[in-house]
Each structure stands twice: as C-alpha cells, then as structure tokens.
Amino acid sequence: MYNEIYKNSKVRKSYNKIYDWAKSLPENIIVKKKNEAENLFKKIGITFSVYNNFDSTERLIPFDMFPRIISGVEWKKIKEGVIQRALAINAFLNDIYNSGEIVKAKIIPEDLIYKNPAYEIKMVGFKVPKRIYSPIIGSDIVRINEKTFKVLEDNCRTPSGVSYMIENREIMMRMFPELFEKLKIETVENYPNYLLNILKSLSPKKCNKDPKVVILTPGSLNSAYYEHSFLADLMGVELVQGGDLFVDESITYMKTTKGPEKVDIIYRRIDDKFIDPISFDSSSLIGIPGLFDSYKSGNVNICSAPGSGIADDKAIYSYIPDIIKFYLGEEPVLENVKTWRCYKDDEKKYVLNNLEKLVVKEVHGSGGYGLMIGTKSPKKEREKFRKKILKNPENYIAQPVLELSSVPIFDKNKLSPRHVDLRPFCLVGANKTRLVNGGLTRVALKEGSLVVNSSQGGGVKDTWILNE
C-alpha cells in the first residue's frame, strides 16, 4: 500500500512543509480549528443551501483539515490522462450514435453496445451540438504506487462533488491563510466560470444570441440539491425544476415574472428518464413534456446528452484503453484497473474461482451499491454473488481488491493514515477542454476501510496541486 506522506518513515518533499505545520499545531488549536471549520461550513452551507439548518444534525460530508498534496509533476500526468479520456469518451459517444466504426472494427462486441439499455436508440443519427455529448466528466482515480495512478471509473452523466472541491478550498483559505503563503497552490475557484463558458460554447443550432443557460434540478429533496443551488449561484444562472420549464411550438421556455423566456442550454442534473414524459418515462412527473422534440429540432441543448450514460457503463469501462487508442491513436496515459468481464466464459471462470480475492460489481450499480468485496465478505455473501453471476454473467464485472493510497487525517487530534481517491472534473467544450487544477479527494474515515463514498462513511479533503 502506498503512503503518500512517508517514504521509508521519512516525510516526502511535497509534504514537508505541511507536515511541519501539522506537527506544530498544539492539540487545543486543532480542536479549535476543527470547530471553526465546522461553523464555517454551516455558514457557507446556509448561504448557499436550502438543505442544511444551522442547528440541524443533518450535516455536510465530514471534512478533514489535513490537505492532500499532489506535486506538479504528478498532476501533469493525471491532467493529461484525464483530458485524454474525456476526449476519447466524447469521440466514442459520437461514433456509436452515428456510424459505429468501433463496433465494425470489432474492438467492442456489438452486443455490449446495442443490447445495452444505456444505449439510447432515440439518439441514433442525431447531430448533437458541436459533437459534444458529455461536457462534464468526473473520473475517479486511485494511486497504486509511486508512479501509478489508475482510473477506477468515469462519470459521464452528472458527476457530483465539485461543490465540495470549491468549498473545501474556501474553508482552508479562511482558516489557514498562512499556508497559502508558504506553498504555491493552484487555484480552483475558476471552475464555475469555466463551466459556464464551456456550456455556452455548446449552443444549439437555432440560437443566434448569447445563449441562456439554466441548471435543471429534480428539486430540494435530491441529495445533491445543495450542489445544484451552489453552482447556479456561482455561475449566476437560474436553478430550475421541471415545472419552471415548458415547451411551446418546439421552443423551450422558462416561466418568469416577466413572461416566458427562451432557454438555450440546459445543464441537467436529472436522469434521462425524467427529461420528457412523452419521449421517455411516461409516468415521470418531473419531466418537461415536449423537451426531447425541442432538443432534436435544434432549439435547445441538453447537457449531458441523453444516452451519454453508456460511456460510464462498467462493461464499457474495461474497453476505455482500446477506445483511447482507436479514436486518438495514442497510448492511454492513465491505466485502467484490471477488470474481468463475466460475460466471457474464461474470465467468468476465473472470477468464480477467485471470489474471495476480488471485488465484484454490478454493471449498472453505482455509489458503492451492488458491490461485493471478496476479502471482506462472509462466505454466504460470496455464494450469493456466485449464484447471481451464474444467472446473469453479463451483469457483472470483477476487479482485484485495490490498495488505495493513504494520506493522514487528524484523528483524535493525531495524524493517522486513511485511504483516499481523487475525482477531478474535466470540462469539454466546443473548442476547448479544461481541467481545473484540483479535484475532490474522498477519504474513508474508518481505519482500514477502502470505501470512500460519502453515503458510506466517507469524508472529504482539500486537494492541493503544487505550482512548481
């Protein structure tokens, strides 16, 4: 297991200054600062959120003050790799929804695409504005050793967590301004601005003015509502719900006190099936009737495009290195995690024989659900998955149990290592691809735990990319 701060019990260069600082903090100051951080979160939370009350026990994701540091050299490679993936993923989506060259070339089995419910046939042949299907991609990266970062998954639909990236930095800057003088740390505050510009570059065919962008949220009961309102506020755009939008004569409008106002670009934070009850799920109450036809007639853009989800399907994931080679003619900068695909007989056999060593994942599961960690699960649970795999092999993949790298947290005011991952947010626009120099570091707060998901006891840290 890779320890990001120590090398043979000596502190690594990039962490030197921060380590000295952490060690110099008296215990009472740590406690004080922890409380201060909490209060600041609540304050900012209240400022932006309708989700938290200052005296409620309902809290934001736990925050740890010890920053995670990534050197400029390390970041250069991550950045290159993430951008490469984001471009390849968009090229892939454009291909499979049009000519399907990658299938014809027999690089990806046709069943995996065409039988996949995530492949939206309504999108076939449609010219998506600027050929960009997934403008915001959050790839989850884990560090295996000194040299190796691997991508665990890509989130191409509506990746969340970016508000924490921005907020964590805000808190750290307010609490420890002196650290930002000692170290040169890349800024992340441009993100909302970049996001707005990227979205604006994706205006639909029938839009000749400065495009009107809105964020579409399922509503205040959604767990990411806080982030939706946070982004809308920082981008200076309206946060709308389905009922605020309507379609008339193929044009999408939002209801305002001034009268209907045309909307050009919808950054949607809702699932495909809730977009439009006419074209998708007819039982959906939060959709906008007629929106999909408005989209296809070129009057409005929906970001990400419906059907983008196929690219982050776990079955497709294992082909991303091939996808990169096929469309970009480059070797992948970041490796994938070794993946066994159970729909292949020999790989399935290996998985069934090695269940206790592997992590088995449902192809369509997410957020740490539908997952079995072989090393940690009792025999009964493993046997349950064995049956499931035998019944529906195409629904499962398996990966080795990863040794996520560790970074210290302040645990009872002492430094103590915990496993982390990293989610940078790549923005793909019409002429520009941007990656803010930073990301969200998620940390498993439980000692020894490898699950960093916030829904299962994970926390967050500020991530510092050093400007060297």
Binding site: G100, S279, D293, K296
Partner: protein, 269 residues
Amino acid sequence: MKIRITHSTTYKYNLTVPKLIQCLKLYPSVCDNQEILKWNTTSNTGKIVESHIDALGHRVQNIFLNNFNGQLKITSRGILKTKNFSGVVRGLKEKVNPLCFLRETDLTKPCEKIKEISRKVQGNYKDEVEFAHKLNLVVSNSIDYVSGSTTTSTSSKEALRQKKGVCQDFAHILISIARQNRLPARYINGFLLEETTSGENTTHAWAEIFIKHLGWVGFDPSHKRCIDEKYIRVSSGFDFIDASTIKGVKTNYSGDEFLDTKVNVESCQ
C-alpha cells in the same frame, strides 16, 4: 397497387385542458414497398409543427395547445402505391442497429410459456427465414383472435395466459419469442387493406423480424402470413407503447378524455 387511406383520431375533453402537447408519428414509412403519392395530416385546431426525422425514420410532428376546450381531431389522408417483396422491407431509411431490438420490454418480457413454445420449435431449419416462418405459424396458433379481449396495456404473457387477443397481442408474442431466439424483432403500426362486412376498418399491427441476409421482414401472425402489397407501414418500436403513432401529455388536467378512431382503407385506381 394503389391504396387510399383516411385515418382520423378524435380526442374529446369535458374540461378545459390548460396545456396539451402531442407527438405524432403518422407519416407512412419512406421505403421501396410503398410509394407515397399523396399524404397530408391536419388538425381541426390548426397548426401542426414539424419537429424532426427520428432514428427509426419517423417524420415526427407536434401539436401544442393551451387552454384548449372541446375536441381535437387529427386527420391523415393519402394515397400510396405499394409493392410486394414477399415480406421484406426494402430501402428503409433508418440508422438503428437491428441488435438493439433484442432488448426486452415490459410488454414483451419472455415468460415460461414463451420459453416452452420456444423449446418446442427448436430443430433443424434451412435458414433463419424458415425458422421465422415457423415462429410466425406457432404464434398464430398460440391464441385465438377475439376482438376487444385485451387492452392496450396487455403484455404477451397475459395474452398467452388468457389464450386470446387482438393483432397487438399476436405481434407482442411473436416479438417475445423471436427475441428469445436471438432474432431482433419489433412492433409495427400500420394499415391493412381487407374486405370487411361493416365497411369500417381499424388500424393494424404486426411484427418485423431481422434476418441477416434479407434485412427486416414483416410477419403478420394474426393473419398467419408475411406482409404484402396490402400492408401500409407507419411506425415502429420496441413494443406497442414505444411505437405509438400519437403520444401526448396534458398538464394540470383533471377531466376526462374520450378517444375515437376512424379508419378507411380502400384500393383505388
């Protein structure tokens, strides 16, 4: 042969509809089997907005109504010149890979009965065409045609259980069993020229099965045959719901909706 069609759908509302949006797929398929000599879709309320040509080649149109009272009547009229290619659909302009039509839907999910029928028909066939014909025949005999015996939401499983159904159910069963045998299959809405005693026609539905060396082939299990020059193809989809020719959503409407359809199909010179 030349076929003239008049097809009207009337929706009646007892209260004011604040907002109504409909998506129409009423234009006959553009393919070599049917040459569209004349076609026109109109609405008694005025404007029909052209939207786009969708992935399956449908010409999609929309109707938008605000604070609407009374009745909405959508009428299509036209003349087509048809050809018989022994069931094969030629020259269809669509972009969707046929393998997509191996996916199951709620209305066409394979049940035990389907699997059972499927086991019975296994054997040596000259080619996929022969096998498909066999499936069509088996499905034709699997239930009785009884008009009004099922509703629009009846699945293939339910139709098989009650052993009766209408053209929609025959099509769903054929689709389920074809997909079960790894043959892509889909639902087709259209018209059929047939002699009727009442002089009134209805819309018709059948299935298409994808056969590698031929492409999409139309099978009509409720008539135990392949499609010919008497068939007019209009819309396609995974199942009845997906292939609907008119789909609509009413916003904030609490009243009732009454539906009436009138079809006239006749040969002409």
